[in-house]
């Protein structure tokens, strides 16, 4: 679908959350993140506490983060999503990843730990969210938990987590995380056999 056709559908029923969400998705697909955010927010507001609202907030956070130096707002979107559906893993993952990215490892550890403790990882994947493979949230949260543990002084715990991933599921990790995992095991844990 194109923006034009989604726009025409939207105009006919612009109170419909799906029409708003789909138009947001088209704007996102062509890199117009501000436009997308407006329609995602409208979609969320028109279906409180449904999966469309949750998914819209996940996208809004991702887009604000991608615009650069807007982390407080990205975080606010993800936190709202998390509080809406606290058993889903996506919001925890993006929050934890963001905190680790900005070196707030205690927060990264906290949110990944909470997710691994409380989330249900066998829920239906979100329909239109493919920032990572939707089957890999648990594994990526384990990775972020292990990474943040290293930087927060939990060295043994970090080694245990990262080695477990390496020994049992390393090929399931997305390439970016896989490269970092190997780097950590070699450089920080001095495991030359890796």
């Amino acid at each position: 679908m194109s923006i034009q056709s989604r726009l025409e559908t939207y105009i006919l029923d612009n109170e419909n959350p799906a029409s708003n969400f789909n138009l947001g998705l088209e704007y996102e697909n062509v890199g117009q993140s501000s436009s997308a955010i407006s329609y995602y927010l409208r979609a969320a507001e028109r279906c409180n506490h449904s999966s469309i609202a949750y998914e819209s907030l996940i996208h809004m956070g991702y887009l604000y983060d991608g615009q650069g130096k807007r982390g407080r707002t990205a975080m606010s979107c993800w936190r709202k999503a998390l509080s809406m559906m606290p058993k889903r893993p996506e919001a925890y993952y993006y929050i934890s990843r963001y905190y680790n990215w900005i070196s707030e490892y205690d927060q990264g550890y906290l949110f990944s730990k909470l997710a691994l403790e409380f989330c249900e990882f066998d829920l239906e994947p979100l329909e239109c969210t493919w920032y990572i493979d939707p089957t890999k949230y648990k594994l990526c949260l384990e990775f972020d938990n292990g990474l943040s543990a290293w930087w927060w002084g939990k060295v043994d715990e970090s080694k245990q987590i990262l080695l477990d991933i390496y020994n049992n599921k390393v090929d399931l990790l997305p390439p970016y995380q896989k490269n970092i995992l190997i780097k950590y095991l070699k450089e920080y844990f001095k495991l030359d056999e890796i």
Binding site: Q4, Y27, S33, I37, S38, N48, R72
Partner: protein, 331 residues
């Protein structure tokens, strides 16, 4: 209140098109408040490109932690910055060509937090193409004044070749207004503007004397809202047509500011008496919508507007649809 004017127009044979600039140039940030002008048969559109994304919710449940209406700019650079892209559209209203307007010849270091020429309307007066909008970066308190930026276009560039700051009406040195913006250029009356719509005040800027004088001031009418500036004012039939914006400012429970914009057409006679006013309307039911452009184009009008400061659109409106819309309240 008439909601979703665009639906009304498209169901009457009109067309809407999104206006997009390559996100590699804009970082995908807000495109807003476009202005359309027909220049020797060519459809010119200026699109305002900003460094922020507006967050504006409709319900308390979705308030940002900083309030319902927040400009999300880089957290280490708390300014609202504007650039402008001049575009040529084809007859299908798709953008064929665009260039960033190069303003470097006249730019000085901004000394207030709103940078650049905002909400620039396009108009050609005395053979020269102008962008005329508000600039607020010239003093430390952000006083807004309308400016005239003369524009030169070639295949390879668009650049500002002169810049004039329009003084207030009154004696030189008199400061009686903090911010003047959204004056509506009257396209067939050089350097004339409609300042606002109720009462209708028409002013003229004189380059020779560098003074602005009041040309017309009609009686105030008993309507419930202010009629602020908006589009250009265009001659139509025996009078003039323009599109105003209306601002409804509110506060949420926590005392933070919020707002909603709506619109209204006015049709004036030759002496600036308002003959008809349309219903107050929204384009797409967004809270923040804003128009800077109105042009006559064949059997239609072209209207350009921004949606939530984050998206820009052009709406081709059959004349018959708009004429009937103007007559709604008089039936």
């Amino acid at each position: 209140m008439f909601e979703n004017f665009v639906k009304h127009v498209t169901s009457g044979g009109g067309i809407i098109k999104p206006l997009l600039i390559d996100p590699k140039l804009t970082n995908g940030l807000g495109l807003m408040n476009p202005s359309v002008y027909i220049d020797d048969g060519k459809i010119l559109v200026n699109i305002r490109s900003v460094n922020y994304t507006l967050y504006n919710c409709e319900t308390p449940h979705y308030e940002h932690v900083w309030g319902p209406l927040v400009y999300i700019h880089p957290e280490d650079n708390l300014v609202l910055a504007t650039k402008n892209y001049l575009c040529i559209l084809n007859d299908e209203l798709n953008i064929d060509w665009y260039k960033l307007v190069d303003t470097s010849k006249f730019d000085t270091k901004p000394i207030w937090d709103f940078h650049g020429l905002e909400d620039a309307r396009l108009v050609r007066w005395d053979g020269k193409l102008y962008m005329t909008g508000v600039r607020r970066d010239c003093n430390t308190i952000g006083s807004g004044r309308m400016e005239l930026s003369e524009i030169e276009m070639s295949n390879d560039y668009v650049k500002e070749v002169s810049r004039t700051r329009i003084p207030l009406v009154g004696e030189p040195g008199e400061i009686c207004s903090y911010c003047e913006k959204n004056w509506m250029p009257i396209i067939n009356k050089p350097f004339h503007y409609v300042k606002w719509g109720n009462p209708t005040e028409v002013v003229k800027y004189d380059f020779e004397t560098d003074r602005t004088i009041q040309v017309s001031h009609t009686n105030i009418h008993n309507i419930a809202h202010d009629l602020r500036g908006g589009s250009q004012v265009i001659p139509y039939k025996d009078g003039y047509l323009g599109l105003h914006h209306i601002t409804y400012l509110t506060k949420v429970a926590a005392g933070r500011r919020d707002g909603m914009y709506r619109h209204q057409f006015t049709y004036w006679d030759k002496d600036w008496n308002p003959i008809k006013r349309s219903p107050v309307f929204s384009f797409l039911t967004g809270k923040v919508e804003f128009t800077c452009g109105l042009a006559e184009y064949g059997d239609s009008f072209l209207i350009t507007f921004g949606f939530m400061d984050n998206a820009a659109y052009i709406l081709k409106t059959p004349k018959k649809v708009l004429e009937e819309f103007l007559d709604v309240d008089s039936k």
